[in-house]
């Protein structure tokens, strides 16, 4: 692998008109992060259908725990790749079909109520479910039907909607599993999107230079921080400390909010680290990477200090203060990424900021 990277770098460096070459970090993030992280997600999501079937066949301590664990691991591994807003995860609306977020006005909940009211059987098979609104197909929908608002599992409970809920949950789990498998396979494919990222040049319709390719990758990492901060955390903070809305934390209904937020940040940090950008930066700018690493550790510490489930505990034990401090850290991380690292590498930032009119 190392030889291959060096080989590619040598080819590009040999072209005099070629600006800084970013194929090495791209190769590293594909092999060191995109492929293993999507494979992990495929593996955990692959267990979900079995876990749904088990809890629906017989509700035992083991089957309940099995579903809880499978769901939590799927959320964890999904959170680590959700920032990938380009390439295979966008094919066939996969990302929206895995998680319908944000949804501040509760559209998914409303649509699911309608499905139940109409006893709509089209959600009972993965194929016909795949043709429904993305809001009712995803892990966010599974969480809504499998958990009550106090993070208690209701899937498999005896009631007159048990069979419908179980059939619908299984269809979602099978769909999620398939999407995860397809995403992983597409990233693993040497002729797929990874080739597009690594073959920048005049014949590549998408990326003329490796700088353009790494800009896409890097901007999705920076946007990932914006999503965690502005979309996943800020709404839960409410207007003040006594008006918080912890229900707005992602996947808090199933008690997985801290799992999800931790995975989001760890994913972005691991992806960033896998690129080994330091050698590409001047010695004056390299400190930004060290400081970033330090800030990611701080962020992790704030999250570790929370006591799940946050819906119950957010007002206690300084949870609010921990998250308020986390928000400041995330602002710092975003600035370090967009100003420090992207600036140090000479990468372009936002679409509008870069080239407005």
């Amino acid at each position: 692998m190392k030889n291959l990277i060096l080989g590619i770098a040598a080819i590009f460096l040999a072209v005099p008109s070629q600006a800084a070459d970013f194929n090495a970090p791209l190769e590293s993030i594909i092999a060191g992060y995109f492929r293993p992280a999507t494979a992990d997600f495929a593996e955990s999501a692959g267990i979900l259908p079995t876990a749904v079937s088990a809890i629906c066949t017989e509700t035992t301590e083991a089957s309940v725990l099995g579903f809880q664990t499978a769901f939590s691991k799927t959320i964890r591994d999904f959170s680590r790749i959700q920032f990938l807003r380009f390439g295979p995860l966008l094919e066939d609306d996969r990302l929206s079909r895995l998680s319908f977020r944000p949804d501040p006005r509760g559209r998914a909940q409303k649509q699911i109520r309608k499905l139940y009211a109409a006893a709509d059987n089209s959600v009972l098979s993965p194929v016909s479910l795949g043709k429904k609104s993305v809001a009712v197909q995803s892990l966010t929908a599974l969480e809504l039907i499998a958990f009550d608002k106090d993070a208690k599992i209701v899937l498999g409970n005896n009631s007159d909607i048990k069979d419908y809920t179980c059939g619908y949950a299984l269809a979602i789990a099978q769909n999620v599993s398939k999407i995860a498998r397809d995403t992983s396979a597409d990233w693993a494919d040497p002729h797929g999107y990874s080739k597009l990222l690594l073959s920048a040049g005049p014949d590549n319709d998408r990326y003329r230079t490796s700088k353009e390719a790494i800009e896409d990758v890097f901007n999705s990492l920076a946007t990932g921080i914006t999503i965690t901060k502005d979309q996943d955390i800020l709404p839960a903070m409410g207007k003040s400390k006594d008006k918080t809305k912890p229900n707005r934390f992602p996947f808090s209904r199933s008690g997985n909010a801290v799992v999800y937020l931790t995975g989001e940040l760890a994913g972005i940090n691991d992806a960033l680290s896998s690129m080994d950008l330091k050698p590409l930066m001047s010695s004056d700018d390299q400190w930004t990477l060290d400081t970033l690493g330090f800030e990611f550790k701080n962020a992790r510490n704030y999250l570790d200090a929370l006591n799940p489930p946050v819906r119950k505990t957010f007002g206690e034990n300084g949870g609010y203060n921990q998250v308020a401090a986390l928000l400041i850290t995330l602002s710092s991380i975003r600035e370090l990424m967009t100003q420090g690292v992207a600036g140090g590498l000479g990468l372009a930032g936002g679409f509008n900021a870069l080239d407005g009119d």
Partner: protein, 387 residues
């Protein structure tokens, strides 16, 4: 502090989607899978719609039609990068312009079963990216570059039939006209002449920065005669007057882009009226140097009481009291640029990272309604108003 009370506009969504069903078969027009769920909504849930140019993660360009949840209902592919969108007064037609120095504009009747038609600029002209309809909706005015003569013009198109037809042009009374708007009485076109000379042979290169002289021209919409023209003080001659919105009293709020030294801290938002000297707004000192001297778009609330000015290079959108000219507050939205009015006094802000944020109060964090993956919303977003 709420911007004002809210009362949503209504729109016949069902009629829209029914019509779209027929159009969806056309290659240029595709309906989103989400539309299915919207068809299930009751008529009473009809609400305002939005449109914005975008670039998607494949690098393709188009125009997206959105609902008030920020979900994409339909997409229209464009041959190149789009910019501004002019909506007819009855909200039944719109024209999406190419970004300068583009030569196409797309005429769309989204509720009719007609294929979008392409308007190609005249030889010797290119579009600047903005336009507006006449009060009766029969004419379209488009700012254009007569690059051979290095002068700005307003192209006039008859859009009363199925196919738009160019019927004439008049001077914009300045160089680089970028945006224009029609006053509420329908008689006066307000034209923001950015003052920058460009030539398509030199791409987007700015050719006259040392001598630029931006202006706001008030022009008779029927005759094309100049009624009034204002320029800024000579010390601000490098503040390109670019994007514009009319407030409730008909004054033009103009956002500037400064071409002078980056270390300067000029005012960026100015207010113009035919019979008044230009008024330069003041923003709090804490913003000095943080906006990169660049305003991306300017939008008035439906009531015209509040003006929003986005500054994508500073990641902030600023709000102003149209009555007093005072600063109301700002929102931090990374790469936020497109701003459309929603409800009576609120705004929907689109960004280059796909986000669509609802702002009801300038000092409370925006509510992110949606973030369609893979979409980068371009500089401007418009709301479809109802006749």
């Amino acid at each position: 502090m709420p911007l004002t009370a809210t009362e949503p506009h209504t729109f016949s969504r069902r009629g829209f989607l029914t019509a779209l069903g027929g159009i969806a078969t056309l290659p240029a027009f595709s309906r989103s899978p989400l539309a299915e769920s919207l068809l299930e909504r009751k008529d009473g849930e009809d609400a305002v719609l939005f449109a914005s140019a975008y670039r998607n993660s494949n690098g393709d360009f188009g125009v997206g039609l959105l609902d008030d949840y920020g979900q994409i209902l339909a997409r229209i592919t464009l041959p190149g990068r789009g910019h501004g969108i002019a909506v007819s007064p009855d909200g039944q037609r719109f024209v999406a312009f190419a970004r300068r120095p583009g030569t196409f504009a797309l005429f769309v009747q989204p509720f009719q079963d007609f294929e979008p038609s392409v308007i190609v600029s005249e030889p010797g002209r290119h579009f600047y990216g903005h336009g507006c309809f006449s009060a009766d909706g029969r004419l379209l005015y488009a700012v254009e570059n007569d690059f051979g003569a290095a002068r700005g013009v307003v192209g006039v198109y008859d859009v009363s039939g199925q196919l738009p037809k160019r019927i004439g042009e008049f001077s914009s009374y300045g160089l680089g006209p970028h945006d224009l708007a029609l006053t509420s009485d329908g008689r006066t076109l307000v034209i923001a002449n950015g003052g920058i000379e460009t030539h398509p042979d030199k791409g987007r290169e700015k050719l006259n920065l040392a001598a630029m002289a931006p202006s706001i021209a008030f022009v008779d919409a029927q005759t094309g005669d100049l009624a009034r023209q204002h320029e800024l003080d000579n010390s601000l001659h490098q503040l390109s007057l670019r994007h514009m919105a009319l407030d409730g009293k008909g004054r033009a709020w103009v956002g500037g882009q400064y071409e002078g030294p980056a270390s300067d801290v000029p005012p960026l938002v100015a207010v113009f009226a035919p019979d008044e000297a230009p008024y330069m707004t003041e923003m709090p000192a804490s913003f000095a140097g943080k906006l990169n001297n660049y305003i991306g778009s300017v939008t008035a609330s439906i009531s015209g009481d509040v003006i929003a000015t986005s500054a994508p290079r500073g990641g902030r959108t600023l709000f102003w009291d149209a009555g007093t000219g005072g600063f109301l507050g700002a929102q931090v939205i990374p790469d936020g640029c497109g701003v459309a009015p929603i409800d009576q006094g609120s705004f929907l802000i689109s960004d280059g990272n796909g986000g669509l944020s609802f702002v009801n109060e300038p000092d409370v964090p925006a509510e992110i309604l949606a973030r369609p993956p893979g979409f980068s919303w371009d500089n401007h977003m418009v709301a479809f108003s109802q006749a």
